[in-house]
Amino acid sequence: MSTIALRGRAAFGLRHRVNPGLRQPLAVIGAVIAVAWVLIAIFAPLIAPANPLAQTFTPSMAPSWQHLFGTDELGRDVLSRVIYGARVTLPIGILIVLFAAAIGGSVGAIAGYFRGPIDGAFMRSADLVFAFPPIILAMVVAAVLGRSLQNAAIAIVIVAWPSYARVMRGLVLTVGDSEYVQSARLLGASARRALLRDVLPNVAGPILVLMTLDLATAILLLSGLSFLGLGAQPPQPEWGSMVADGTQYFQWWWMGTFPGLAIFTVVLAFNFLGDSLRDVFDPRTGLRHNETA
């Protein structure tokens, strides 16, 4: 029994109700910050004052007009590293969510549409992933696969897909019973066609909300793994590992504070967006991800 707040409002497509939501101030703030970070990531070489890897400056200088965020213990410009960090975190975070949604969504759709033993087998394996707190499982998987950013991302996909499977299954169960899907099948549409053409458009909204909120979670997890040394490896400018460097030299507060602020603002932006979007799709608003195992 996965009581997911999004589940009951299956019938709302994307088109109808997005606009009023975007008028919410939080959604606007979230969108502005998110777009700003995407632009920073794209134009990093133009914006960054220095090469993020070049150890050319005096080490561990406090913030000044020359180095707004100071320099780190190896004499690299922290601002430039934070800017280039967006190029690591954003694309990988988005990829993680896309993969998790594709895998979990397919599993959930198949389970919900065909029901029976397939449903049982798929959802029990999802339950099994839910049985472990995300970071423990992700940490172990990342460590076993070997320390790299790519393996950390794979580990997060492994812990993230089941929530999509649950939501998708619930949605497909409700939508699949509806008359228009039944009549499409009666008219001779294949299961695949019915799923893609009739079911998918109706579940897109709630899945989109989940993906937005999940992007925030994925970025937090990714930076957490990197913080633990299981993600990005030096000298790559990644925010989580920069905060980890900051804990080594914490009398130089700027080394950890600024990359942490970067994570915070990005995650906040997606939480603002996702939360506002959820209000649009589900007025009853709850915060129930994996409430039960």
Partner: protein, 360 residues
């Protein structure tokens, strides 16, 4: 012969009545069955994990000298069934588990169960205080937000709680340590006690409790002082979660007739809020406990790392980065078992509160 079954309190008819669809017993039994299957699944995952990791188990466990001795290696392999096929190895693994044998950590060279016994109380103490702080603040915030729905306070608390779930725990920990320890010097810089201090005699393993049991007040304040900062950092995420849950629970209750009746009777607002609204709202807040617990464990891995807190999060981290397979399997199994058990209890509690759940 004929009298005995009637005298037995659980007659067949009574059992049938208790187990009818929608009954509480049936609900609990079904959840229990699911729990057992899940636990088996967890042991299987842990087992597969130990199989996947490339390592020479005998060499890492026995140490170099013993590994050179063929007899010792053979004995080790037989004990853990390493010479048997996969399904048999799993059964042997289960047998060891049932006997409380989680193997030996290749890092500490202790039995994993011994290590867990050492590290669990530290995390448990941290987690308990953290959940306590989070509950007080989160429920208060949630009630305020719910009572002032759509007013500025409500919007403000929404932003605050979204900010709370957006801040990386390890970063809050770093900032808290920098300000509270390095700059202001108000808090110690980590560990459970100051260096050179002897811990209280072990009863529960929770230093604050044990110190009180010993009657050692100064030790209690010292232990409390040490855990205050990490517990508060760990609470941040859950404050947000509880605020939001309490808010929606309060909104469900606040319009009810009995609340209006209480106000109409002229009861003071304080009494209405505490005795009527909060009492009606709290049970559904309980259901989020599983999630709160998972968050604390997640945070513990990161917070313990920064505060040098010798807990299970540190142990899990050390085990993972050193590929200490028995320790990884043991600690993740322990955590998962506690986690699903908490969720099982929450589930059952939820069934008590809301009978409609029992049918699904």
């Amino acid at each position: 012969m004929s009298g005995a079954p009637a005298a037995f309190p659980l007659s067949a008819a009574r059992l049938r009545r208790l187990a009818r669809p929608g009954s509480f017993l049936r609900f609990v039994l079904r959840r229990l069955l699911a729990l057992v299957l899940l636990l088996l699944g967890i042991t299987f995952v842990a087992f597969v994990l130990t199989e996947l990791v490339p390592s020479n188990a005998a060499a890492t466990n026995l140490g170099e000298q013993a590994a050179g001795d063929p007899a010792a290696v053979k004995a080790f392999e037989e004990h853990y069934g390493l010479d048997k096929p996969f399904p048999i190895r799993y059964l042997i693994y289960l047998k060891h588990l049932l006997h409380g044998d989680l193997g030996q950590s290749s890092l500490t060279h202790n039995a994993v169960t011994h290590d867990l016994g050492q590290f669990i109380p530290a995390t448990a103490e941290l987690a308990l205080y953290s959940i306590f702080f989070a509950a007080i603040v989160g429920v208060t915030f949630g009630v305020i937000a719910g009572l002032r729905r759509n007013r500025p306070v409500d919007h403000g608390l929404r932003v605050v709680s979204l900010a709370g779930i957006s801040m990386p725990t390890f970063w809050i920990a770093l900032v808290a340590l920098y300000v509270g320890f390095y700059r202001l010097g108000w808090f110690p810089g980590g560990q459970r006690l100051s260096p050179g201090t002897n811990p209280p005699p072990t009863v529960t393993g929770l230093y604050t409790v044990d110190a009180l049991l010993e009657g050692n007040w100064s030790l209690f304040t010292q232990a409390f002082h040490h855990l205050l900062l990490p517990a508060l950092v760990l609470a941040a995420f859950n404050v947000s979660l509880l605020t939001r849950f309490t808010r929606s629970a309060v909104l469900e209750v606040v319009g009810n007739d009995y609340v209006r009746a209480a106000r109409a009777k002229g009861m003071p607002e304080r009494v209405v809020v505490v005795r009527y609204i909060l009492r009606g709202a709290l049970p559904s807040v309980v259901t989020v406990l599983g999630l709160v617990f998972a968050n604390v464990l997640t945070g513990a891995v990161l917070v313990e790392n920064i505060f040098s807190w010798p807990g299970i999060g540190q142990y899990a981290f050390q085990a993972a980065v050193n590929l200490d397979v028995p320790a990884i399997a043991g600690v993740s199994m322990f955590v998962a078992v506690v986690y699903v058990t908490v969720n099982f209890i929450v589930d059952v509690l939820y069934g008590v509160i809301d009978p409609r759940i029992r049918v699904t």
